[in-house]
Symmetry: C2
Subunit: 204 residues, 2 copies
DNA sequence: GTCTATAAAAGGATAGAC
DNA sequence: GTCTATCCTTTTATAGAC
């Protein structure tokens, strides 16, 4: 049993890579910086992952799987729609509270290279399609107000994501750089988003 | 009077630079590609703008001024609040229909380098603060439902921006890559965003 | 103002010793 | 597995002729 650290694990490298890639983006990231943060040298990076591209792919794929969530796990036909929507909002906001870098990272890297989506879609299922079908059903029953279910989905997600994605802009300008206060605002989002839309979408 | 083109104007370079910077970002952009699109060589870029950094600053500043809008121009105390909100939504959606790259460009570059905001704020006024004051007044009068005016502002902007910012993601997955249909959806946003929130925020 | 040529530096990747 | 040294390409930036 050695006292000092043994192998550089993949996990150590991935942690460092995630930090650098999410902060600087694929194009702005430097292999040197990743190596430094992982406490190793560049050669080791290429030993574990053959290239910058492959390392990025790995990091991005893991991020996308978290971002593109497991909505269908909560989904079955006789569920309370209010609780369902509330649940979606809560799990999204909680995710972004924990990993605030996710929204921007996903969106901006997909904007630069949209082809990437095709690769990813095979790995993770297409949950929202089922969700759309469920919501449509609830609309026909008169529980939810009639509208394009996709539009409803986008509106909910928009309200969840935007305050995290645009934090540097909003917190500095609208919150006058009071970061503590802005963090508190984000924590309240789980309730406030639902409260905001509750009266629009449900025919009580 | 010559037939063929005369000087390479600053404007020609800026057009090319805007195209490349907004597509690839600061880190991913290449001076060579900007030169090619402008129909000149790299040396000319450095002749007009001393460095990549300075060229980017110019492009970004112009983008930010469009993005950070002239809300206060529409603002006076006895205005109809419904029309005001409607007007804000319309001018934002119209802006993004015309320049879809703006949201991502601004947000992702500010995320990478938040310090940049300080420089920019001096150049363009801080309109939304006035807006917040106006909305607060309308709430006290009972015209608009009581809530944090900043939250209302963010929610409205979120609904306007997100479908443009996340287009690659949403159009491919939720719209199953039917780009025409998604474009039509975006064009309808001027009306649909207002319609969505109208019943929440106004005590009719 | 515009070009060619080139400097100077950075960054990704590999060879080879241990 | 881990390191040092090095290769090779890309990229920003400048010098200098016209």
């Amino acid at each position: 049993m050695k006292e000092e650290s043994v192998n550089v694990s993949e996990a150590t490298i991935l942690d460092a890579a995630r930090a650098v890639f999410t902060e600087k983006g694929m194009a702005g990231a430097r292999m040197q910086e990743i190596a430094d943060r992982a406490g190793i040298n560049k050669a080791m990076l290429h030993y574990y992952f053959r290239s910058k591209e492959k390392l990025f792919d790995r990091v991005f794929q893991e991020a996308f799987q978290q971002f593109w969530p497991k909505i269908e796990t909560q989904l079955n036909a006789d569920m309370n729609p209010k609780l369902l929507i509330k649940g979606i909002i809560e799990s999204y906001v909680e995710l972004f509270l924990e990993k605030p870098y996710l929204p921007n990272f996903i969106i901006s890297e997909l904007t630069r290279d949209p082809e990437r989506i095709e690769k990813l879609m095979q790995k993770s299922g297409v949950a929202p399609i089922q969700l759309v079908r469920y919501v449509k059903h609830q609309m026909e029953k008169g529980v939810i107000v009639e509208m394009d279910p996709r539009e409803l989905f986008i509106n909910v997600i928009a309200l969840c994501i935007f305050p995290f994605a645009a934090r540097p802009l909003i917190s500095r300008i609208i919150w006058e750089n009071d970061q503590d206060s802005y963090t508190a605002f984000l924590k309240r989002r789980k309730e406030s988003v639902f409260q905001f839309i509750e009266n629009i979408i449900f025919n009580d």
